[in-house]
Amino acid sequence: MTDALDQLLRDAAPIGDDRVRALRLDSVETELREAIVLYGEHEPESRPARRRRPLHWRLPGLAAAAALAVAAVLAVSLIGGSGTSPERAWAEPALRVANANPRLLIGQPGWTVTRADEFSVREGEMTFRSGSRRVNLFWRPGPHGEWVDDRAHSADRLAPVDVLGAQATVFRYRSQNGGLTALWRSGRYTMELTAGGLSAREYRRVLRSLKAVGVDRWLGAMPPSVVLPADSERVAEAMLAEIPRPDGFELESQTGVRDRYQLGARVAGGVACAWMEQWAEARGAGDPAAAAEAVDAMRTSRRWPILREMNAAGDYPEVLWELADAMRGDPPFPGATPDWVEENYREGLGC
């Protein structure tokens, strides 16, 4: 069934790979490739810095933010370790990023950082949410004036707003559902706060409430907490405590650093995979008792504490519960038959 969907999608693609490959673009692509090598910025961070060539053509943000997963940046977040504060020690890469960047948070209650997965020492972005409202904060090096000119092409200027001692130029886009954006200087950075779904008044309140915070507070606001390697086994055991497991079930060793959501998926998913495997084998072998035992165990999954905790942060529990419902013949959507469960549970749960 999945194959049929994929085929349907492939057929509806505006242009297929065969047609893309058949385009006669070799010479212009080679020209582009060589222009990038000649004129593009190229300073691998792991090597000694090269002398920077003048690149007057470089428009702001030409080098768009390439992802540096914050999970990797925030590689270790120790409670009680030695470091820059009595409370916390942060991984050196995280400190390096935090010390280099403007560390802003929204001062109004209810706003939290929900995404910060694209930043480096050079530039970055993060998302704040409050209920259904969302704003994105960007910081980038580059000539401030060119950013402002760029926005002015497609947006109308509104009255400026003072942000942390600087004057922010505020725009409302003529398209994009009237989204709002504001640009201001902060040291060598051009800052930008974009918003959709906020009234101009709300947006101005958020802008004015931005505050600069210290390294600890900024890193501490990042989502979600990580589980230390040394704690992983203990935390995993605690997660397992309330979950019925098949006979002989053993959790794989939990090594590495991950947040509770990822660890929870490994633990709850590991148990669910084991139950579903038993169920699938029992169906094939005509062993109704073993199949029923698995169905009954999975029926309890809506009460598994770790899944209830994870449910606020992501979709993994929802997927698992749908499979559990479908395997006992209570389809959560049309077509979710037990056969469908057998075909899909490994991909859905990552078994």
């Binding site: 069934m1 049929a4 490739r33 990038i36 090598v37 593009g40 030409l62 080098a63 390439a66």
Partner: protein, 199 residues
Amino acid sequence: VPDITVSMPSDASQGTDARRFRLLFDQQRRAVLGYVLRRVDDPEDAADAVAETFLVAWRRLDDVPRGDGARPWLLGVARRVLANQRRGARRHTGLADRLGRELAAQLPTAAGPSATDLLVRRALESLSDDDREILLLAGWEGLSPAEIAVAAGLSGVAARSRLHRARRRFRAELAALGWQADSAGGCGATLDLAKEHTR
């Protein structure tokens, strides 16, 4: 027109990095171009996005995974470049002008989409942006869940569960529009278009 003041090639154009970048570009140029062409209509926008994606790759060459991991990494960059374009952060470097003109000349004027295509597009439009992109990374780009995780900046667990959810929602939307998968659950599928889509 960019104000390019560099008059001489630097040593960077001849070294090991340049060789590696050229190989990367040559191997992945059409994958990136295909990704972009499937998501934007304007050939100039597409050309700019390709240029900017590879500019990022050149700048961050140390971060580009070697081997099979390069393609999802590049598509992840292209995804963000297109997102920036949509946010109005479109930049025109001039580097890809000729590519844009060639694309405009060579891309045929699209024939009207078939009834099936329209159905699929309607179902896709009803998904959230995130669900749609994850579904298309699998369906159009052929990425595995692990590769989708790289391209979409997700964990492997999240990519799998979101792909699963996106497929389920897409399927439900299609069903609501009249599509029926083969009830045997195999690869076959029938398209029983609702009357209003065929008229």
